[in-house]
Amino acid sequence: MKRHTAKGLLILMGLVAMAMPAQAEELKSLRGSRDLAAGSEPPEINREISDDRPIPRNYVQQPPLIPHKTEGYRIDRNYNKCLSCHSWANYQQAKATKIPPTHFVGRDGKELANVSAARYFCTQCHVPQTDTRPLVENEFEPVKALK
């Protein structure tokens, strides 16, 4: 019994000694050596650009970017705020671009009388812009036909 305890103690001391140098080194997470307790700097607040001219497209099939603010514009089954300006009935009054005929084609390729449900939630494809710098450099060039 006594011999066992002494042996155990010895092994334990050996293990502790082995772990010592590792513990002295600073803890490192995958994000590098960062003081996790210090908290991070809050990101810059992004503000939507308020009206601008239509933004040039980079390729033909691109959903055009939204050149105006969309804050508070609600899209639900009762009403679509975007269509209050972009529908065929309203675009002239609102001086907006009318939605193209592609938006009246259903999932199965059938032409519909009103906006297809697949296109109803505009912001799935069309996004507003903010005034921030891009996070990574981008060297994308539009096709020659659009330049």
Partner: protein, 189 residues
């Protein structure tokens, strides 16, 4: 002789009582006018608190960069005494409908919503959006400081004698099913 027996002592009692009672009533009336024009009163009904109030809290009239808030009565109650009292008389029906339970669930409220909204739109159109204008005066609006879309539409709206509510529906609450108002802006099939 006759004269002196007829000459009864002038009785102050009833007049004094009437005067005091009148003052109390007037104070109560003004107090009521005042209390019932607070946000607390408007949302003391569950119908208002659970529906329109919750939605309004997400809009610019509840919180914005300038910190100026428009409360229920700013948009729904005239500042002029006569119209104010007129609206209160109509509100008696609303209290009655509350106890009848006309819109005591979300479902019932949504069913009645178009009807309720149409009443508000009609009223605002008829009075040239008077309550909006008590804060937003077209005369003191600098269109050139507004966004391009706002500026163009406001100039056009002035020319066509349009009123605020014709273009600004749903600014403080969610809208009802708009199928009958603008079929081009609701979900098709």
């Amino acid at each position: 002789m006759l004269e002196s027996t007829n000459k009864k002592r002038f009785k102050w009692g009833p007049y004094l009582f009437g005067g005091v009672a009148g003052m109390v009533l007037l104070a109560a009336f003004l107090g009521e006018l005042h209390y019932s024009a607070t946000e607390k009163f408007c949302i003391s009904c569950h119908e208002m608190e659970a529906n329109v109030y919750m939605e309004y809290k997400e809009t610019a009239h509840y919180m914005n960069k300038s910190g100026v808030r428009a409360i229920c009565t700013d948009c729904h109650l005239s500042q002029h005494l006569v119209q104010k009292v007129g609206r209160k008389v109509k509100a008696v029906n609303e209290v009655f409908q509350h106890f009848k339970g006309t819109i005591n669930s979300r479902e019932k409220f949504i069913e009645k919503r178009l009807h309720l909204a149409e009443k508000v739109w009609a009223e605002m159109k008829a009075n040239d959006s008077r309550e909006c204008r008590s804060c937003h005066s077209a005369k003191s609006m600098d269109y050139t400081k507004q966004s391009k879309r706002a500026m163009e539409q406001h100039i056009k709206g002035d020319d066509e004698k349009k009123t605020c509510i014709e273009c600004h529906k749903g600014i403080a609450h969610k809208l009802p099913d708009m199928q009958t108002i603008d079929p081009s802006a609701v979900i098709g099939i």
